[in-house]
């Protein structure tokens, strides 16, 4: 557990989400980049799940 916390401290020096947030604002619309990232990942996962051939299926010329 200690090793994980040390690793976390090292990584936090590079990736620290505690600073001031930044926001994508477009007219009346506003979203934090944190939330935008989560939503984009979800959409990407959905699209990949639809198009990537499933192993064991006869898809994609296997």
């Amino acid at each position: 557990m200690d090793a994980i916390i040390v690793a976390q401290g090292l990584i936090a020096a590079l990736v620290d989400l505690n600073g001031n947030g930044s926001y994508l604002t477009w007219g009346w619309f506003s979203i934090s980049y944190g939330n935008l990232a989560v939503i984009l990942v979800m959409v990407a996962l959905f699209l990949l799940a639809l198009v990537v051939p499933f192993p064991g299926s006869k898809d994609g010329g296997e």
Partner: protein, 328 residues
């Protein structure tokens, strides 16, 4: 374009599957999913950690912005604060929300009774009688007529919200005027708050053990600027889509996007009944999602979208290959 089995409603019914089956190891699938989720969780937690902004206290508030605190205190005493005018479930103030002339909170009534003058000012002050001049001030206030009190309170509210109001040498400074004992009382409450004694008094209101922070949170929220300015800086305010945001750069409750969206558009954006209107919309939409299988049109979107042709592309391919043979 599309033919279907006769008599079947394509968006409701489907014939039982009599086609091919293939081996599928569910336990293996769930186990692999579990391992993947644990790995992702540990990875994300190690890389991104989690936010933890310390809770604020009355002491921090009154030390940072003593005049803002005093303005809040007098508004609690004279009944002009947000909480004093809130209405149910706290009191009979006039500001309850309604939709089509019906106010659900009024129908349910007052269940968490709050008297802002007593709970936020007079009650806490009664525990501090040793402060210089406070005992006499509280007696004078108690002995005064309602008209006298109202006059002192109004005068003091005018003085403490004037730009000349300030804070020096541990005391509030306002222009001279007829405030009766109210100036002493608000100054004493500010002293009490700055020392941390108001936090203690309010947090132990229900006794030594307390897990209910209704009253102290309502007092914090009545501040015209302190709490809200911290939240504004973190993009957490309602008008900033704040409900889905988190402190720092963290993702928040992104799943509240639709709920917070309605607060950004007219008429809810400026409506004094916005909360009730948004809740009504969200309840309707949630009922809609729940009942999608029964709503004509909505339940046909999947068929019209033809995304299913992509999901089941292999099935339709094998059908297309197999079918001509059947017809021969």
């Amino acid at each position: 374009m599309t033919r279907r089995a006769p008599g079947l409603h394509p968006d409701i019914e489907v014939s039982p599957w009599r086609g091919a089956m293939r081996p599928y190891d569910l336990v293996k699938e769930v186990t692999i999913c579990f391992v993947v989720v644990v790995a992702l969780t540990v990875g994300l937690a190690v890389v991104f950690s989690s936010p933890d902004e310390r809770a604020i206290t009355m002491a921090q508030w009154s030390n940072a912005q003593p005049v803002d605190f005093a303005q809040t205190a007098i508004s609690e005493l004279d009944g002009t604060s947000t909480s004093a005018n809130y209405g149910p479930p706290y009191n009979h103030g006039p500001n309850s929300q309604q939709l089509f002339g019906v106010s659900p909170e009024r129908l349910i009534g007052v269940h968490l009774p709050l008297n802002t003058a007593q709970d936020f000012v007079l009650g806490p002050l009664s525990t501090q009688r040793d402060l210089p001049g406070l005992a006499a001030a509280l007696e004078a206030f108690a002995a005064a007529s309602p008209a006298e009190r109202a006059s002192w309170e109004q005068n003091y509210e005018g003085a403490i919200t004037a730009s000349a109001a300030g804070f020096t040498a541990g005391h509030l400074v306002v222009a001279r005027g007829d405030y009766g004992p109210v100036g002493t009382m608000i100054d004493a409450l500010t002293t009490m708050a700055r020392s941390g004694a108001l936090d203690t008094s309010m947090l132990t209101e229900e006794g030594f053990y307390s897990t209910n922070f209704t009253k102290p949170l309502l007092l914090l929220a009545d501040s015209p600027s302190y709490l809200s300015s911290i939240a504004q800086a973190q993009h957490l305010a309602g008008g900033q889509w704040g409900m889905m945001n988190e402190t720092g750069k963290y993702p928040g409750q992104a799943w509240l996007w639709l709920y917070t969206l309605w607060y950004q558009v007219p008429p809810m954006k400026t409506s004094s009944n916005a909360d009730l209107e948004v809740w009504a919309i969200m309840m309707l939409l949630t009922a809609g999602l729940l009942l999608v299988p029964y709503i004509p049109g909505l339940r046909s979107i999947p068929r019209w979208s033809r995304i299913y042709r992509l999901i089941w592309r292999q099935h339709y391919r094998s059908m297309a290959v197999a079918q001509p043979k059947v017809n021969e």
